[in-house]
């Protein structure tokens, strides 16, 4: 399924960022193989913000992990910016933000952000520190560079995690329920933060969530998945343009679309 | 009369006299019901007797002296090993025939009676410790392995294993160089002896019969000992018993009976211990033993 490039007001290139063709995945489970994904086809154009929703166990995380090359698919092919996943991974690196910030507790916020730079070997140490501080500023964490994760609130940790994923300037940002552990208020602040960041630099975002309101608020298009076997049920362009106004959450279009999506998810 | 007797070491032919006195009913004849209890590398027969846990015990005489010096109310009533079997065991091929041959050789020692006596022997022979290459270890394996040329130890049992391994040995005995001391002595508390002089007498009399029987009937004795402690090797035990005989039966005991003694060497022993075993004492040697319970 090709995402309609003009589904939303947002200007963007129609060049392909991620192309998924006929990807299937089965795990060796206790009682025989588990078919986590079957025949996934999806093309994501560059610089889009795509959400993946679906009930627990429908294969959202698995799909993200296959795209990022963390696990190899059982069948099918994936192109990322025209390369194979492995090649892309080697040359360019994905940005990845996990549910539960997954920072390294023994590193300060700054050291967490510069970790990928250290590992990949970008720039001089001084440049890396400067770049980490830039990103902490971008994520509004100026004063907290020397704090350890345990000294930050959940929302702040999640922002460090995003800064870390952005530090090596990935063209593609994969996020797996990054805000699942936050309370609703902090979560909304993070939404606006994320959109602001996304608007400041060209990046393709694939965002997994099980919150429809989150998906509708953030994305250009929503991929609805269904479980057993994990498959794509529909790709829905978001009807109402996103704005930094929280009231937009209650716009009739949004509500109507929420209802449609709910039905889509609940029907087997 | 129930009596317990504590051996200085695990039950083996070293305690043959007591075992046979019990086996042959010599204790019973005296109206004594004796329980023979084993000691071990870490067990102190003197403290067990002093604390009342056992009635009689046997131990190296220097052990009794050390105990008395710690305030134990002990008295030696018999001395069954008239000479001390402790000394230096050497490999025959090292050709060490007298103490001064140890100069320049490697000697393994560890803390304890044999080392004390060896130091006394070397002093008497005018050999300085600094002229010997000393290492610390109790392992007889070192000798077999030829890591060392000599080691201190008990010459009645340790050389047997080395010889069974095919290496002839020689020994240097402090008792051959003027270091006179008893080895195993029978003791009890002064309080017990004074309260039960007859029991002490009967015990010594029966024990003497046991010793005499044991060394006269060595095959039977080994069989009896091995029957009690089945872990023992009869061949080794027989050889050890044979070697022990010369220490138990000297001219003096041949004349006066096994375990008889006159206490003359107790004072010598204390002098040796003062010089070489760190003994600090004001004890009068004469208070440490009595010959009055010996069978006549």
């Amino acid at each position: 399924m090709l995402l309609d490039p003009d589904a939303r007001g947002q200007a963007g290139s129609t060049a392909e960022a991620i192309g998924i063709e006929n990807v299937s995945m089965s795990f060796q489970g206790r009682q025989g193989p588990v078919e986590a994904l079957r025949g996934i086809n999806l093309t994501i154009p560059q610089n889009r913000f795509i959400s993946i929703v679906g009930r627990s166990g429908c294969g959202k995380s698995t799909l993200l992990r296959i795209i990022s090359g963390l696990i190899p698919q059982s069948a099918g092919t994936i192109r990322v910016m025209g390369r194979s996943t492995q090649d892309y991974q080697k040359e360019k690196k994905f940005g990845f933000v996990f549910q539960e910030a997954s920072l390294f507790p023994w590193k300060t916020a700054r050291d967490n952000v510069r970790l990928p730079l250290d590992v990949i070997g970008i720039g001089t140490p001084a440049e890396r520190a400067a770049r980490a501080d830039d990103l902490l500023r971008l994520t509004r964490l100026e004063g907290f560079a020397d704090h350890y994760p345990a000294q930050l609130s959940g929302g702040m940790r999640q922002r460090v995690s995003i800064a870390r994923a952005l530090s090596y300037e990935p063209e593609i940002l994969l996020m797996d329920e990054p805000f699942g552990a936050l309370d609703e208020f902090t979560r909304r602040e993070m939404h606006d933060e994320l959109i602001r960041i996304w608007q400041t630099r060209p990046v393709t975002v694939v965002f997994v969530t099980h919150s429809l309101s989150e998906a509708l608020y953030l994305s250009d298009a929503i991929v609805v998945m269904a479980p057993r076997p994990g498959r794509i049920k529909a790709v829905v362009p978001v009807a109402h343009p996103r704005l930094a106004d929280p009231d937009m959450r209650h716009h009739p279009d949004v509500i109507a679309q929420t209802r449609d999506l709910e039905r889509l998810i609940h029907e087997q | 009369q129930d009596i317990s007797f504590r051996l200085p070491w695990i039950l083996n032919v070293q305690g043959a006299g007591y075992v046979m006195a019990k086996e042959k009913g010599f204790y019973e004849e005296e109206g004594l019901n004796v329980e023979i209890m084993p000691g071990g590398p870490n067990l102190n027969s003197t403290a067990l007797v002093a604390s009342g846990a056992n009635t009689f015990g046997s131990n190296d005489v220097n052990g009794v002296i050390f105990g008395a010096n710690q305030g134990m109310d002990l008295v030696i009533v018999g001395a069954c090993f008239q000479r001390h079997p402790a000394g230096v065991i050497t490999l025959a091929e090292a050709n060490i025939n007298e103490p001064k041959d140890l100069v320049g050789k490697t000697l393994a020692y560890n803390e304890g009676g044999p080392w004390t006596l060896t130091q006394a022997m070397l002093a008497k022979a005018g050999v300085a410790l600094t002229d010997i290459n000393l290492v610390v270890s109790p392992s007889t394996e070192l000798l077999i392995n030829k890591t060392v040329d000599a080691k201190t130890g008990f010459t009645v049992n340790e050389p047997i294993a080395v010889e069974l391994a095919g290496l002839p040995t020689k020994v240097l005995l402090p008792s051959d160089y003027g270091v006179n001391t008893y080895a195993e002595a029978i003791f009890t508390t002064k309080a017990y002896a004074e309260a039960n002089p007859e029991v002490v007498r009967k015990f010594l009399a029966a024990t003497r019969k046991g010793y005499d029987y044991a060394y006269a009937n060595q095959e039977e004795t080994v069989a009896a000992v091995v029957a009690i402690n089945t872990q023992l090797d009869p061949v080794q035990q027989a050889e050890q018993l044979r070697r022990q005989e010369a220490y138990v039966y000297t001219d003096f005991t041949k004349a006066n009976g096994a375990c008889a003694f006159d206490g003359a060497v107790v004072s010598d022993t204390m002098d040796v211990m003062k010089e070489f075993a760190g003994l600090e004492t004001t004890l009068d040697p004469a208070t440490l033993f009595t010959t009055e319970y010996l069978p006549q």
Partner: protein, 272 residues
């Protein structure tokens, strides 16, 4: 892609029967045991190492078979003391942990003693223990218990205190007594910790009993070791050590079995 992260997902692992998996798991260790045995045997034979220095496995095996009755008797004595000591030490540790749970003062007063006991070389005081406790089973059991005591105490105290706060509050809300709270909540929360320590201390208990036997006993693996040393019988020394090691491993697995029975609910076990 780095395979470093792949330990957990274990994707597309080859299929294979359970027996095959078991073999793959045990294979390397059995293989290495056999290999070491063969090399040992061969080099003893090749370099004519005298048995006094290092007996060949075949010699040890022959001796173990020849002395099996004696080994068994002595083992029985040692293991009786070890198991009793293990039970006693564990029981005292658990009891004291419960006291600590309800009295911080007792904990503060007694915990340094527990640490101090741990720093004492038991062998050094073993001769005194024989005098204080007499001869026979008692000092063996006491030393085994002493050696088991500390890790179980530390772990059980930790376990009793790690109960989920919500669980405790729920018990409080329904007005449960201390006893009820203990029986329904703390006990089970502590069990996995206690067992983690028990697995460690089971082998310590056997060593404790053997050490106690070094000081003088009629029967036991410790006396076999002493006698073997006295007679310079290396084959017997190895036979005794191997016998007690095997028995210790059996005890270890017995504790694991007991753990499986006691920690019957899913997700209960902590790996030691």
């Amino acid at each position: 892609m780095s395979s470093d992260a792949m330990a957990a997902p274990a994707a597309s692992s080859g299929r294979g029967s359970a027996a095959l998996a078991k073999l793959r798991e045990l294979g390397p260790s059995i293989g290495l045991f056999l290999l070491v045995g063969v090399i040992w045997e061969a080099s003893v034979k090749l370099f004519a190492v005298p048995a006094y220095l290092l007996p060949a496995p075949s010699v040890i095996g022959t001796r173990m078979w020849a002395t099996r009755v004696m080994l068994w008797e002595n083992l029985a004595s040692t293991m009786t003391a070890a198991v009793l000591g293990f039970i006693l030490g564990t029981a005292i540790a658990v009891g004291l942990a419960i006291v600590f749970l309800y009295s911080r003062t007792a904990e503060r007063a007694l915990f340094p003693w527990a640490i101090t006991i741990k720093t004492i070389p038991i062998l050094a005081i073993a001769p005194l223990l024989t005098i204080w406790l007499g001869f026979g089973l008692a000092p063996k059991v006491a030393i085994a218990a002493l050696i088991c005591f500390f890790p179980t105490l530390v772990n059980t105290v930790k376990g009793l205190r790690t109960v989920d706060r919500n669980a405790l509050e729920f018990m409080a809300v329904i007005g449960a007594s201390k006893g009820q709270t203990f029986r329904h909540a703390r006990l089970f929360a502590a069990l996995p910790y206690t067992f983690a320590a028990a697995k460690i201390s089971s082998s310590a208990a056997v060593i404790g009993a053997i050490v106690a036997e070094f000081t003088g006993a009629n029967l036991g693996i410790g006396t076999l070791i002493v006698t073997a040393g006295y007679q310079m019988d290396s084959a017997m020394l190895f036979a005794a050590i191997i016998t007690s090691s095997l028995a210790t491993i059996v005890l270890f697995y017995a504790v694991i079995l007991l753990e499986k029975l006691c920690l019957y609910w899913p997700e209960a076990r902590m790996d030691a």
